[in-house]
Symmetry: C2
Subunit: 250 residues, 2 copies
């Protein structure tokens, strides 16, 4: 093993939105474009963006269960091109999407999903009141890190009716056993970060997002993050390395 | 746009071989693993590794034509898991593969292709004499750069019978018109490199190859590289941004 220097990258553009739009324009088929996610230790993964268009029967089991628990008025946070939202609309729910990628938000709108182009970190109560906040597709990750999570949970509570629910899926970081994931977790602990905090960026062609924090939290860690917020853990459903979290708003 | 610092990457392992092996073990189906190729200006692309297992009817037109021109004894340079070689064997040719990725070479052998795990830069005449040297899948790129190309062409001539052929596909770099590709070409020219020289690395999971040079040469540039070698351009077939080059050994 030898160590290499790497490039500096200019950030800008809409790498995720560009990839989503390409797949949409190709009719949602596989093999068109890929979401490339890079972690700051060099771990890199690619996924076919087609998965964000997959119909309900092809979803992972926890994603299906998530939607079964949704109330009438749903805020779909990080909705992408509307995988969950299109399904929920067809089931008679009312849905508002929130998506930070302009390209992905545009595609969600083309598919009939009313969508705000904004981030969860800047949501304000004027968007309305919802029975369910949905953080599908591992979007509990959008809580980011220990410092941001409380603020985001309170912002989400402010748009949820009393007794309403927050439904999300996360990966339990303690189930990731490869040498590099264990080393990453250890470095987080040494720096007093949550063990599952991931520093990521999304790349496509010549564009890259800035680095951002994306959180894998265990159920226990998630419960701790709800302290000083109106949320309480109501139900947990585990499946392999992931779990469904069902929080209730007081 | 803001500029970001990035990580240093340890190099090692066999990122391409790991990705190929995963697809092979999954029966060659799509959606299993991706080849992530990064250029030193930050351009990043992903391809489904399934394409290296695609059967002959699914190949690009120039790749099909390439194999139609092959002689009896074929040296398949950069054979990967044997896309061309398996087809040529079925057509009655004799084939020796050359592949630098140990994992990809292993899969080629499992598919019945006799394969040397080595690089084209270190080929020696003791491997035998061939009627055709095949550089399929844009593998004219393995000529690397102006400095290396002559040596590699002479090494390939030394294992080709007089009157034999070199068959390859390349991308004409002058057909790449995006702003970043034009800027990359300009930087190459300013540094007195061939315009289509690409500095690349392949990444998978936590592993990366070192940076290596991969050459896109126009037909004119390729002809110039054959000076002081036993090769001469015999036939060119253009198709969109690519062309098939058919060289003859004197």
């Amino acid at each position: 093993m030898s160590v290499h220097t790497t490039l500096d990258l200019a950030t800008g553009g809409d790498p995720f939105g560009d990839a989503v739009r390409e797949v949409w324009e190709a009719g949602g088929r596989p093999g068109v474009s890929y979401e490339i996610i890079e972690r700051d230790d060099g771990l890199i993964t690619a996924n076919d963006v087609h998965r964000y268009f997959a119909p309900h029967p092809e979803w992972a089991p926890l994603e299906q269960r998530l939607c079964e628990r949704a109330g009438q008025r749903v805020l779909d946070v990080g909705c992408g091109p509307g995988r969950h939202a299109v399904h929920l609309l067809a089931q008679g729910h009312r849905v508002l999407g929130v998506e930070s990628s302009p390209g992905a938000a545009d595609v969600a709108r083309l598919r009939g999903v009313e969508t705000l182009t904004t981030t969860v970190e800047t949501l304000t109560p004027d968007i309305g009141s919802f029975d369910t906040v949905l953080l599908g597709g591992q979007n509990i990750g959008l809580l980011g890190n220990r410092e941001k999570a409380g603020d985001i949970l309170r912002r989400l509570a402010a748009v949820t009716a009393p007794g309403g629910s927050l439904l999300g899926v996360s990966v339990d970081p303690h189930t990731l056993t490869s040498a590099w994931n264990r080393a990453y977790l250890e470095r987080n602990l040494a720096a007093e970060r949550l063990p599952g905090q991931q520093r990521l960026r999304i790349r496509d062609g010549i564009t890259s997002t800035p680095w951002f924090d994306y959180l894998y939290a265990s159920a226990t860690e998630l419960a701790a993050l709800t302290e000083d917020t109106p949320w309480q853990v109501h139900e947990l459903v585990r499946h392999e390395k992931q779990y469904l979290a069902h929080l209730r708003r007081s």
